[in-house]
Symmetry: C2
Subunit: 398 residues, 2 copies
């Protein structure tokens, strides 16, 4: 199947995804979104889902080779087409307060690398993405994104199809090496929630990132909220939206990002890899964008709509990160964004904003990594005082 | 992927499916239904679809391992559940006069063999099946079912995972060994259409099957229609609903099937194999059913609804069949029903019936094989005269 059994980890991992990731409740419907190459894990999630009392498990397999055929040979109208039944599927699940597991892990590295970058960038089912972001922001679904090792992904990471090694790394990042992974996740979530609470209380006026190629100030709202660890659905079901998760994040003031920023890690984006991304912001908007590789995919995204050039997220991660400590670049945002601090252009998070403030709206939400041992992060108080938050990857704020 | 590349046949086969099977027209949307294990062929069909001018290709992968989890561990309400978006998907395609390729070929032999037969029999998404039969009977879609070899299917057929051998057999049945397969299909379709025209003209009052364990009379409607070879959609697009196809068929008079019939080949049904099936009919309805193996799956189907016990189809196949001539039992109805004569209980075909006559209605349509060298088939004229149609597998009617 292009994906090994991960030394018997699969069933244990699937159970963690179901019990902690979406925290499935008796009688809840479960959607699984996966690639064809994820079939062994998707099947284990289905088994674990029914074992936990799922009313129904529906697995939808996407196929990047079919997508490649579309980008290469399809008509222009096909490129950004969203099949209406895929939107119906998530809307129906939202109405039933369902759960949704999303498996991540690229099937085949560089599969779109030789194709037209603009077409690659546009092939993102934006109507579907908007519908999904609507479900997420309204908290109508308990969802969790988790990685699934594939041979192709292992080749990208290690230069050889060492799937077992990738399984081992993935297992470490999600605490499957702990004696009681569920308890370990509960403690971890509590720690991140505490850190988020503290940042919300401090009410910094802005964050400042300083490092090689980076001199960036990101304005924050008074009364804004930081989030970390488990999320809650509208009806109060805690779930782990990302596994792993090591971040605390908020949505910034759309009009007050100023300065320049350089990415500190490669970014896997729409089947290609973006390296050396540099953005310059004025009045909250990206006014210059360049990259050593993958620049056209980023440019196409930034031109997608009005909100694409505006930050929707800023997130802080320290050196204790389970992902960062593997020392591996995963070429997968789910992991790499949890290795270090990051920002995202595009859609913001309404639940992070004070009452009466609208989140930045976009069909795009692309995280890229800007943190690391050489990057200093400060909180700037309303009076201008700088308070150290991160130094040499160590958390300073007590 | 559990399915080999079939010695480079895949692309040629995919093109045949697209050009002859659904006869895809420029700008037509194409759905592909496949199992996960069919990914290499599904991808080739997507490429061939876009090359032929498809407006969009949507591949939906089903997964029998997920289905197994449902049958084994799911709640009762899940067993016959049809996700509404799957119905929306085919209805949307019908409204757009789209095409639909369905790949057939079991992923894993005996996967449901140890499960409760009633649950296996009920796990058939009957609402979806009814919706699909509605699209088919209204001829709103150009569709084609074609086989896709898998390792599991090869194991079932040959006792070993000899996928290459199965690819060779499949290629023979669909005339890929011809210099010009498209022309060969056109000639073949014409021959079957001619045979169907002749049977329609003769207007037999009944068919009679006589052989070991079989003494069966099937009443036919005056003014009924036989069909063979290519089908036409409501808007006149010819397509090959089955690849291979070797049959001419009609829908019988629901009230006039009498006698007993014994199957002459094993029947692959819902993941199990039915052997030695014997049915007795009175006044058109099955009043006794038994089988050496798989009896409970058949019984559950016969109890599905009012129309399940009534014949919806009778079909004639002679010894020239490309399938029959392979000498292989494929344990797949698409092939085995084209090896020899067969009948189906359940849903009938409105297009075979005279004006004003309703087709038998059921969510079930299960073909099983009743022909062979030892079975004599006669057409019975209104006056009672028997006219030989098949003797020793040879076609008699000129």
């Amino acid at each position: 199947m292009g994906s090994s059994n991960g030394n018997g980890l699969v069933d244990k991992y699937a159970e963690l995804i179901v019990r902690v990731g979406v925290n499935l409740q008796e009688g809840q419907a479960l959607l699984v979104n996966a690639f064809v190459e994820h079939a062994p894990l998707a099947r284990a999630v289905a088994r674990a889902g029914y074992a936990a009392g799922a009313s129904y498990v529906d697995v939808r397999y996407a196929d990047d080779f079919v997508k490649r055929a579309m980008i290469e040979h399809g008509p222009d109208e096909a490129i950004d087409y969203s099949p209406p039944w895929l939107i119906e599927r998530i809307a129906d699940n939202g109405e039933r307060s369902g759960a949704n597991v999303i498996l991540s892990g690229e099937p085949e590295p560089g599969l779109f690398g030789d194709l037209d970058g603009t077409r690659v960038g546009n092939a993102r089912m934006s109507a579907f993405q908007t519908a999904w972001l609507n479900e997420v922001t309204k908290r109508r679904v308990s969802w969790s994104i988790a990685g699934c090792p594939t041979e192709g992904w292992a080749r990208r990471v290690f230069g050889e199809p060492d799937v077992e090694r990738l399984w081992k790394a993935v297992a470490e990042t999600v605490r499957l090496d702990e004696a009681d992974p569920v308890a370990a996740w509960q403690a971890h979530s509590k720690r991140l929630r505490e850190r988020a609470r503290l940042l919300s209380e401090r009410g910094f006026d802005a964050l400042r990132f300083r490092g090689p190629g980076t001199e960036l100030t990101i304005g924050l709202f008074q009364g804004g909220t930081w989030i970390g660890g488990g999320h809650d659905t509208a009806w109060g079901q805690e779930h782990m939206a990302n596994m792993p998760t090591e971040e605390v994040f908020t949505s910034p003031d759309p009009g007050r990002t100023e300065g320049t920023v350089r990415s500190t890690m490669p970014l896997a984006l729409l089947g290609t890899v973006v390296r050396g991304l540099e953005l310059r912001f004025e009045g909250g908007r990206v006014v210059e964008a360049r990259a050593d590789e993958g620049e056209d995919v980023v440019r196409t995204q930034l031109d997608a709509d009005e909100g694409a050039r505006v930050l929707g997220e800023v997130a802080l991660v320290d050196g204790e990160s389970r992902v960062g400590r593997t020392g591996i670049t995963f070429f997968n945002t789910l992991y790499d964004e949890n290795a270090t601090c990051h920002i995202a252009y595009g859609q913001g998070f309404p639940m992070c904003l004070p009452d009466g403030v609208e989140a930045n709206r976009s069909s795009v939400h692309t995280d890229f990594m800007i943190g690391g041992p050489e990057v200093e992060v400060d909180g700037i108080e309303a009076g201008g005082t700088a308070v150290p938050i991160l130094r040499g990857n160590e958390w300073q704020l007590g």
